[in-house]
């Protein structure tokens, strides 16, 4: 705590929107004005989100999406067994689902991080 004020308190001019709304940053103003600087920030946000989505979609295509080709081309895989159950049944009937959920969780975590970075850059602090 600072020391209590000495003498008459300074006069403060009270204006309307001071308390509730945090002050907007310059970057937010640039985005609103659709200036080139604002556009650069928007494009970088969109690009990072799109790159993330495309990257995880590529992982999906290279894992689950490649299975038909694998089953067709790799002969022994068609009738391989795990614990008495054919591999194709295990993979398509069960193992695909944890992969889908894992990719979804990874996406949400990274997408929210991208948005936090953007917020730190643009938003009120």
């Amino acid at each position: 705590m600072s020391t209590p004020p000495v003498g008459p308190p300074q006069r403060v001019r009270v204006t309307a929107p001071a308390a509730g709304r945090p002050r907007r940053t310059t970057v937010a103003r640039e985005i609103d004005a659709q200036s080139e600087v604002g556009e650069v920030y928007m494009r970088s946000l969109m690009r990072s989100q799109l790159r993330l989505a495309l990257g995880l979609a590529a992982v999906l295509m290279l894992s689950v999406g490649l299975l038909p080709v694998l089953f067709l081309e790799v002969g022994w895989l068609r009738n391989a067994h795990v614990l008495g159950v054919p591999v194709a049944w295990v993979v398509l009937g069960g193992l695909c689902y944890p992969v889908l959920i894992g990719l979804a969780v990874a996406y949400v975590r990274r997408a929210e991080r991208n948005e936090r970075d953007f917020h730190d850059l643009v938003g009120p602090r």
Binding site: R24, L45, L72, P86, G93, L100, L103, G123
Partner: protein, 503 residues
């Protein structure tokens, strides 16, 4: 009526009465136009995820998937995998921006993004088309189920589902539907899980020669039969990309609080669907082992208790499965009728009637019209009919959403051209199949699963058309991108779009 029939009918009636009762409870809460369309966005993520899953798990998931696994074997497992993976792609590319657009329906999104009444009109027509395509197998499944249980003609079950859905939708709108759907997810999961405890332990003798069919290589091993690579990838493309374009799925995302909640809801949906889709293949394999070859694939799930147990136990289990199946028909049909009614109510009747009255009239028109189409059209497997609806959605709304959200260059003319091209080709294939066309060779494969051809065509036309009309990009596309992609906590100008029917 036999004892099976009586217990099953009691169970089905209980589900129907319960649905209407929960709906009536919601009715007391829903008062404004916005309540009718999107529950005023007061639904939490867990409830909303259960509601999305409950709405999504249709006749095709509950009855059709098991039947397909029984007849076609391991390759049919791609259906449930694709139906789930569709939500992953929805999450990656669409969920948060779609919610942030504050559009209620897919036509709202088209109007918001493109500022074009023509684009909105095409999108509205497509919502009705896809909705009807998806409703037909629900009504047919209901008719089939009641016929198996009681011997009643198929129009009885179809008509009963149409009636309950109408009572519910026209009375309560989305708020009551959200509660109903959330309850029905758990009902369906329980209805499919509980009988397995009794069925799995039994080694009933089964139909003659059935056990041997379990070891046929064409059934047991993947990628058999002509055009298997094309058919599998076409199915993958239709289901992976079609989910985001289903009108009753998209409408659910407006009930999330914000973009971040929309994402977390989608993850919960993926978990719930994954849990459910572990079960139908088990029924398919059981059916392969004990049911005779003459069994209607869509009836396999319901026939199993009778073959494996017999007696009073079988009656109870059949009743449980029938209740689950009716929950599936009711929930998906409710969502679809709601979407059709939302679009027809706003776009066609909205200028002549008060919003709530327009919505109710539209619901009646939508459900009764589809019922008529269902009864008039010929036989088409439940799961395959649903798959064609996915193909149309993937060839129309998927490119609209992906390009609209991520590419500034999309123009109204390009979007309309792409949706019309993809929609016409995919619908042409659907109509040809419904009319019984079955050419041999590659043409037959393409007709039966058109997505691998029609989706790239739709994308190409949409991109090409937009590049040709480069001068006609919407004026405020930069502001629109700000609205779609900035998180809600950031204070920026998001423009002033308000969906029709908002309050």
């Amino acid at each position: 009526m036999s004892a099976t029939a009586v217990t099953a009918v009691v169970a089905v009636v209980a589900v129907a009465v319960g649905t209407v009762a929960v709906g009536a409870f919601g009715l007391r809460l829903s008062r404004t136009t916005s309540d009718f369309y999107v529950a005023s966005r007061t639904v939490g993520p867990a409830t909303n995820a259960a509601a999305i899953s409950g709405e999504y798990l249709s006749a095709a998931s509950f009855l059709g998937a098991a039947g397909l696994v029984m007849t076609r074997g391991v390759d049919a497992l791609w259906y449930p995998v694709g139906w789930t993976a569709g939500y992953l792609l929805l999450l990656l590319f669409v969920a948060a921006p779609l919610r942030r657009s504050r559009a209620y329906t897919l036509p709202d999104f088209a109007e918001f993004r493109l500022g074009s009444p023509a684009a909105r009109g095409v999108a509205s027509a497509l919502v009705v088309l896809i909705g009807v395509l998806y409703l037909i197998p629900q009504f047919r499944g209901a008719g089939l189920t009641l016929r198996i249980l009681t011997g009643a003609p198929t129009w009885v079950g179809a008509g009963a589902v149409a009636l309950v859905v109408l009572l519910n939708v026209a009375a309560g709108g989305m708020r009551s539907i959200t509660l109903v759907q959330a309850v029905q997810y758990w009902l369906k999961l329980a209805a499919l899980l509980f009988p397995l405890f009794f069925l799995l332990g039994r080694h009933g003798e089964g139909a003659a020669g059935a056990a041997a069919r379990l070891h046929e290589t064409t059934w047991l091993e993947p990628m058999h039969g002509p055009h298997s690579l094309y058919l599998t990838y076409s199915l993958i493309l239709a289901t992976f990309l079609g989910t985001m374009g289903l009108p009753h799925v998209a409408v659910r995302f407006y009930t999330n609080r914000d973009g971040g909640t929309a994402r977390r809801t989608t993850v919960a949906v993926l978990v719930m669907l994954s849990a459910f889709y572990l079960l139908p293949p088990v029924y398919g394999v059981l059916g392969r082992r004990v049911l005779p070859t003459t069994t209607d694939p869509d009836a396999a799930v319901l026939d199993l208790p009778r073959y494996l147990l017999g007696g009073g136990g079988a009656d109870v289990l059949t009743a449980v499965l029938a209740a689950g199946a009716f929950a599936a028909f009711l929930s998906t049909s409710s969502g679809l009728v709601l979407s059709i009614a939302g679009v027809v109510g706003q776009d066609v009747l909205g200028r002549r009637l008060a919003p709530v009255a327009a919505f109710r009239v539209a619901a009646v028109v939508g459900a009764v019209g589809t019922l008529a189409v269902t009864l008039l059209s010929g036989g088409l497997g439940v799961a395959h009919a649903v798959e064609l609806a996915f193909a149309v959605a993937a060839s129309t709304f998927c490119p609209l959403l992906l390009l609209g959200i991520w590419w500034r260059g999309l123009t109204p003319a390009g979007a309309v051209a792409g949706m019309v091209a993809g929609g016409t080709l995919a619908t042409g294939a659907v109509v040809a199949v419904m009319l019984g066309a079955a050419p041999s060779g590659t043409a037959g494969a393409v007709l039966s699963q058109p997505a691998l051809v029609t989706v790239p065509v739709a994308f190409a036309v949409m991109v090409g058309g937009s590049l040709l009309t480069r001068g006609r990009r919407p004026a405020h596309v930069a502001r629109i991108m700000v609205r779609l992609h900035t998180p809600e906590v950031v204070q920026v100008d998001r423009g002033g779009f308000r969906a029709r029917g908002a309050d």
